[in-house]
């Protein structure tokens, strides 16, 4: 009989659950996105996200079990992402997981959301990918790790201000493009010239650092649009060609930084495998450039498949590693929210 693990993920604005086996087979995976709730605010509103998780967590768990063709009584452990993320969001998943553990008397497993993003590559590869350099790019995180094993990560670099996905959202808002900003900027950039504007690539030339900074880039786009001073984006009449050129030039600058630092990290660590996860890893231009640069440098590249880039609970299959190691948590497990930033 296979052992089944129910995994829960509520670290930001996706309510997700999955059933995975001890052998890392994903039996079922359900994600309820909250994009439509946050769209008018141009970003995730933590209180709205927390409330939506409360409403959605039970239907998502129920639908996951239904699709897996399993009853709760057949579940052998419950895993939940408890770090990092939004405190109020993480808490909903955590207490739901604990209630299940109490009710069906199974062990609780803690999942590190960022390790899970990298584990999505391991899941898709169907074979060991460690040791590797891990690049996580999302709305909340832009970080580089030395990943000795699935549960052994060392932070080597991170953004010092905005995460890449956050910059995409904010620039999309300036350009009058829809939320979330990643897909809308990618679409606008298809018709644009990536060299139309020479936007800054902060820290890219600094070979001593593996950190990112996207705040200056965001400001550069703003100044190009409205100049310094208090902006009034609402009254702007933007030419579609200008929007496309700005989107393409902005995207190219972000991609240059991400690819450049990932390659620097590989050279510095001497590792020959790169794993990339997180919502921004769905960006087509980033994927293309990572493939080109990895091929040139002889690097084995694993990018999470599109369905596993944005937040999901299938990547909670990393819990299988802990399950096999007998690494369980007490019922008073807490959440460790926050974002990874380099000072």
């Amino acid at each position: 009989m296979p052992k089944y693990i129910l995994t829960i993920e509520t670290s930001c604005d996706e309510t997700a659950a999955a059933v995975v086996t001890e052998e890392r087979q994903v039996v079922a995976s359900v994600v309820a996105s909250q994009d439509e709730l946050h769209r008018r605010f141009g970003g995730v509103v933590p209180e709205i996200a927390s409330r939506a998780h409360v409403e959605r967590i039970l239907p998502v768990i129920d639908e996951t079990l239904r699709r897996a063709g399993l009853t709760l009584g057949q579940i052998d452990a419950v895993a939940v992402a408890n770090t990092p993320g939004l405190a109020g969001s993480l808490l909903v998943g955590l207490v739901a997981a604990k209630a299940l553990c109490v009710a069906i008397d199974v062990p609780l497993i803690a999942v590190d959301h960022l390790q899970a993003h990298i584990y999505a590559c391991r899941l898709a590869a169907g074979r060991d990918v460690f040791p590797c350099v891990g690049l996580i790019v999302s709305g909340g995180h832009s970080s580089l790790y030395r990943c000795a094993g699935p549960l052994d990560f060392e932070l080597l670099g991170a953004t010092i201000d905005d995460a890449a996905g956050e910059a995409f959202d904010k620039v999309a808002s300036m350009l009058g493009l829809s939320y979330p900003g990643g897909p809308s900027i990618q679409k606008a950039a298809e018709r644009g010239n990536p060299t139309a504007f020479n936007f800054p690539r902060s820290l890219l030339k600094d070979e001593d650092r593996l950190d990112f900074s996207f705040s200056g880039l965001k400001t550069a786009v703003r100044y190009t649009l409205v100049g310094p001073g208090k902006p009034d984006f609402g009254s702007l009449k933007l030419d579609p060609t200008l929007v496309s050129n700005l989107a393409a030039s902005f995207q190219e600058a972000v991609v240059d930084c991400l690819v450049g630092k990932a390659m620097l990290c590989l050279r510095k660590t001497g590792l020959d495998t790169l794993c990339v996860g997180g919502g921004v890893a769905a960006n087509a231009r980033l994927r293309q450039r990572l493939e080109e640069e990895s091929a040139r440098a002889g690097i084995t590249l694993h990018i999470a498949p599109l369905a596993l880039c944005t937040d999901n609970a299938a990547m909670g299959a990393i819990a299988a590693e802990r399950f096999q190691a007998g690494c369980f948590e007490p019922l008073d497990l807490d959440v460790y929210p926050g974002v990874i930033r380099k000072a």
Binding site: V54, L91, A103, L331
Partner: protein, 233 residues
């Protein structure tokens, strides 16, 4: 009927087990931990103490607000998930009514208030019906602390956790001396009273839907309130 009652809207939560409305056991959650940490171990301890398997619970009762947003989410999510897994029913109980139920027998009418942040309270007035149960006189209202205090008629009896601030805290001396303040041990909701009220409401035919039960937040998110203000101006 076996009832598991949860209360997490105040700083220190509690859990209780009741059979036919009688309290078999009540536990206070660990005071130095937040309820997201302490609630599940508390439930497990309580069930062991009364010797119930989780599936033997028939009704999970929980304070559904007003109260701390985080506390409400912890309580309601735990109650619904437990009920789902145990095949039990679930019932949300009003926090103000739960607090009112702690008032001594001689009190017939009282006003209960909890902190709603940003200088406001959620306040409700209750009066005993002919069976001695407190019933709301009017719907609870979200109101500024000062306006609430000014609205109280002379001789009104007060209860609720807001009094911790107004009687003992930094804002003391705000209370007029023509108001009657209940003893401090009546101010907070208890899990035992959540369970007792749930039993009474259940017998009276009240039901909540497992899938749609959600907390009674006293206000929307700050982002939504600001958004509406911008639309008006």
């Amino acid at each position: 009927m076996r009832i598991l009652a949860l209360e997490t809207t105040e700083r220190i939560g509690g859990v209780a087990a009741l059979e036919q409305g009688a309290v078999l056991a009540e536990l206070t959650l660990e005071p130095d931990k937040r309820s997201a940490q302490s609630l599940a171990p508390g439930i497990k301890r309580l069930l062991a103490q009364v010797g119930w398997a989780p599936v033997e619970v028939e009704l999970v009762a929980v304070t559904r607000g007003p109260g701390s947003f985080t506390g409400l989410r912890v309580g309601v999510t735990t109650a619904k998930t437990l009920a789902y897994a145990a095949g039990a029913e679930v019932l949300g109980i009003d926090t103000l009514e739960t607090i009112a139920a702690s008032a001594p027998q001689h009190v017939d009418t009282l006003e209960v208030a909890v902190d709603a942040q940003r200088g406001e309270v959620v306040a409700g007035r209750f009066a005993r019906d002919d069976q001695g149960h407190f019933q709301p006189v009017e719907p609870a209202r979200l109101i500024e602390v000062d306006a609430w205090l000014a609205s109280l008629p002379s001789g009104m009896t007060l209860s609720g956790p807001i009094l911790q601030r107004l009687v003992a805290g930094t804002e003391k001396n705000q209370l007029r001396d023509d108001l009657v303040i209940l003893p401090a041990d009546c101010w907070v909701p208890t899990a035992a009273n959540v369970g007792r009220l749930a039993y009474r409401h259940y017998l009276a035919g009240r039901r909540d839907d497992l899938w749609t039960l959600s907390p009674h937040y006293s206000r929307r998110s700050a982002a939504e309130e600001k958004w509406d203000q911008r639309q008006i101006s």
